[in-house]
């Protein structure tokens, strides 16, 4: 009896220690990066234009990160949700379904640099758009779309069968059941999926090197709303270096004495944004669960 109790204590302590170690590692990383950037992270750094030799700012590349995130979401969210609904509600188990599943898993495991090279051929050269935000977003969509579809499918499958049967037994059609019961109940899960994949898109660099380009942008005129004008920051047909790509670029080929400072500041900013997505995902999902299940 005693030995059983000792084993129980040991198991509990070991698992606690492992969990604590993971937590400490994360905390150490955040503290290290934020500490290194403490003097750099000012409004002029976050919003300002980059400079050739001086510290400058990361305003335009930060904008590009959010812009590409938006563009990618515009492509992958509707298509991913539609694909998820098909996989969860309509696809019968069979050759086509297992082929789709295989493709989903295979694409998710392709190294992103390879996706970038594919994007260079398909979205940069074949389309004739050159390095552009749109080409970059399409490259990001390559691995985000299957992920979005998978997360939606899981969220839909988590809706209890009881609720589905209740709807059908009331004489609703299958589509009415999906539209009015299954999807509303899965929305918290789907939204969490969107925001968490946003973190991955936001931090992705390799897939964008050969697709969205490496120019150092400055002088964005946000009042220029013509999306077809390559000079407008709203245009998808212009090169768009993102924050993550900028970190790589500065570290590998930056000049001047502020290189390390810029990289540290940009890294901390990137980390804070991704952390923000994660915390935001939890909060939004909690609010949605509360609102949908309460009223």
């Amino acid at each position: 009896m005693r030995r059983v109790l000792v084993a129980d204590r040991v198991a509990t302590a070991t698992l606690w220690a492992i969990a604590l170690a993971a937590l400490l590692l994360l905390a150490a990383m955040i503290v290290h990066l934020v500490w290194a950037a403490v003097g750099t992270l000012s409004a002029s750094f976050v919003l300002g234009d980059p400079e050739f030799l001086g510290l400058g700012g990361v305003g335009p590349v930060l904008w590009n990160s959010f812009y590409m995130l938006f563009l990618t979401a515009l492509i992958t969210v509707p298509a991913g949700i539609a694909a998820g609904i098909y996989m969860a509600e309509y696809a019968a188990e069979g050759r086509l379904t297992s082929a789709i599943r295989f493709a989903q898993e295979a694409i998710s495991s392709i190294p992103s640099i390879v996706v970038g090279l594919f994007g260079l051929v398909a979205f940069v050269n074949l389309t004739g758009w050159g390095f552009s935000a749109l080409a970059g977003s399409l490259a990001l969509s390559v691995f985000n779309l299957p992920l979005m579809a998978r997360l939606t499918e899981q969220a839909l499958r988590a809706v209890p069968a009881d609720e589905r049967y209740a709807s059908l037994a009331l004489g609703s059609t299958k589509w009415q059941m999906i539209r009015h019961v299954v999807v509303p109940l899965a929305i918290p899960g789907i939204v969490t999926g969107i925001i968490l994949t946003a973190g991955r898109i936001f931090g992705e660099a390799a897939a964008l090197l050969f697709t969205a380009g490496l120019t150092t942008p400055s002088n964005y005129h946000f009042e220029n709303l013509n999306v077809l004008d390559p000079k407008s920051p709203w245009s998808p047909f212009r090169p768009a270096t993102t924050l993550a790509v900028y970190i790589w670029k500065v570290q590998s080929e930056g000049l001047g004495s502020s290189v390390k400072q810029i990289a540290d500041g940009a890294s901390a900013l990137l980390l804070l944004c991704v952390l923000g997505f994660n915390v935001g995902a939890r909060m939004i999902s909690r609010v949605l669960v509360y609102r949908i299940t309460r009223a």
Partner: protein, 294 residues
Amino acid sequence: MTADLGGVAAPLKASGSRSSLGQLAAARRATLAEDEALVTKMEATSLNVSYAGRTVVRDVSFPVISNQVTAIIGPSGSGKSSVLRCFNRMNELIPKAVVSGSVRLDDEDIYASGVQVVEVRRRVGLVFQRPNPFPMSIYENVAYGPRRLGERNRARLDEIVERSIRQAALWEEVSDDLRRKSGLALSGGQQQRLCIARVLATEPEVILMDEPASALDPIATLQIEELMRELIEKYTIVIVTHNMQEAARASDHTVFMSMGTDRAGYLVERGPTRQLFSMPTHKLTEDYITGRFG
């Protein structure tokens, strides 16, 4: 086939044999001792159900009489729920389920080609064993069916919701926070009455109940039974239960099913509840209702 049928069952049974339509119509009306006109609302004929090749219901035939409570009783595994689900084609949702035989609703085979399953389920509602309200407000739960049928008028929806909740004997308890309170925030018995109200809102003709009180306490159970007695004024009810007291108290007609040696459920005996419980013709029925097996 069960040949030894007593009382009302026999003439109604005759209507089950597939004779000419004229004979069917003539046989549909039978008279009870009290001279009460009985109309067959639904009728199962030679019903077989199998799941993935395993037969779970074999050759079950019985009528469901209009404005009465028909109880299907029997031990676990005798196929009671499988039979019930045939009455509004819910078996089709179970992969690899095969149903043969026929189920008639007002003399129309609900399995015939061209029959809209959505329409069948609207006319024949189902209350589940475990209360399963949607995680929405009480109002939205009840309005769900009518909304899916295309009702948009707010005043009419309000009226349907209130009428259905009143019919389900739930109005006094929930009228104050129809829109604020989630259906899930109600007690088990209230949830089940909400589910009944939700079915009533689609104005069905028949209400199927799959052990509706099995998850409820004795008081809530009695409330559901009282409710059934009130509802048969306007509706026809088929209830599955393995609670014999419940069948004896609440039903007019009882169908007793058991499990054969091949584990397929079959119909042992059926008849007016009072008769089946007081003078069962089968040894098996007697053993079951006296609690010797089951």
